[in-house]
Amino acid sequence: MKILLRGVRGSIPTTAPDTVYYGGNTSCTIVSEKDWLLVLDGGSGMQRFYIANYTANKRVDILLTHLHFDHIQGLGFFIPLFDSSMEVHIWGPAGAGKSLHSRLSRYLSPPLFPVHLRDLPCKLTLHEIENSSFDIGPFSIQSRYIIHPGPTVGFRIAGQQSVFAYLPDHEPALGSKGFPADKKWISGIDLALHSDLLLHDAQYTADEYKNKMGWGHSSMEDAIQFAMLADVKHLLLSHHDPFRSDSQLNEIFSELQKNTNYSLKYEMAVEGTEIELA
């Protein structure tokens, strides 16, 4: 299974020169195995992705964790959606009211976008998911609702030899006095359990989190603690704050390493990184 990070910035894309190392594109990760390709989230990292460079398969599956704008804003610029020879499946969380089609159409329709969702030329199928299990090509996928404002899921993607867990927007520590010792009280833990690689929300420092509780994001320390409780092999800290420059992220990460002694392998997610999971 190959993982390609196309966007690891949170909230809004950044284009400043001092964010080029970690990257300014919002959430998008490509997962591939054999000829199959999954696109996790439709942030601005979706743009300029030429699928023919990766596979001859005429099917692509887009898995949306939720419909906040930084996770869908790239959809209107995803080339396969405008290619009539492509079969595109969009999987997104069911809500209590409106359908996935209706909610996506709020963006993919005038005045926010010139093309209606219904007019996209590709062969489009929408799938509403909740606490679901489904297969796409060689991938066995589990989705579960996780703690973040609005209907939001995380994904556990099992390939033939490895497991990747994807929870880019997640606040498992919300309201609790730290993490309960009992894993069954931790949002998203099943998705991450024993995974080879976890990409997890880590937008804030521990100090910042005190004033951002309930916003739906995690501190870096909480993300690491979550990964350790889930016995994850390798953690990528993601959803970098858009106000943070490369040098600030470097400084924060180096402080984190200096002040803590985690046994877990963890690092900051960097746009453009490719990881092959054996």
């Binding site: 909740e130 606490n131 703690i147 309201g175 609790s176 009280w185 931790i186 949002s187 099943d190």
Partner: protein, 131 residues
Amino acid sequence: MPAYEIEIILSRQLADSLSIPVFITDTTGNLIFYNEPAEIVLGTTFEETGEMPVAMWSTVFKPVDDEGKPLPPESLPLVKTLRDVYPYHKTFRIESMKGKSQKISVTSYPILGRTGKFLGAVAIFWESKDV
């Protein structure tokens, strides 16, 4: 055992932040969490007991009417909520195992997830102002 649904986890986190006694059960009535104010009602702590099967926690206090006659379980709000998946409210007395009597009002409601799935129930205990 898999993790609870987030609606249950969030209910616990809300209960954990409140100063009123809150009990959370699964769909069959097993007590899966109670907060610190509820510990006073039960006379024990969640830390000590952990989750409690319905057969155990339902004997911790005895619900009675104003004349001291025992109330049948099927008349209690939480039992009715679990049966009907519907909110209920009732004022009655409880006697703790230590013989202490207290008049309380109980409001119970079902936890229905985003997709309408019944996941459990919450009971909130109030000290009754009904003298």
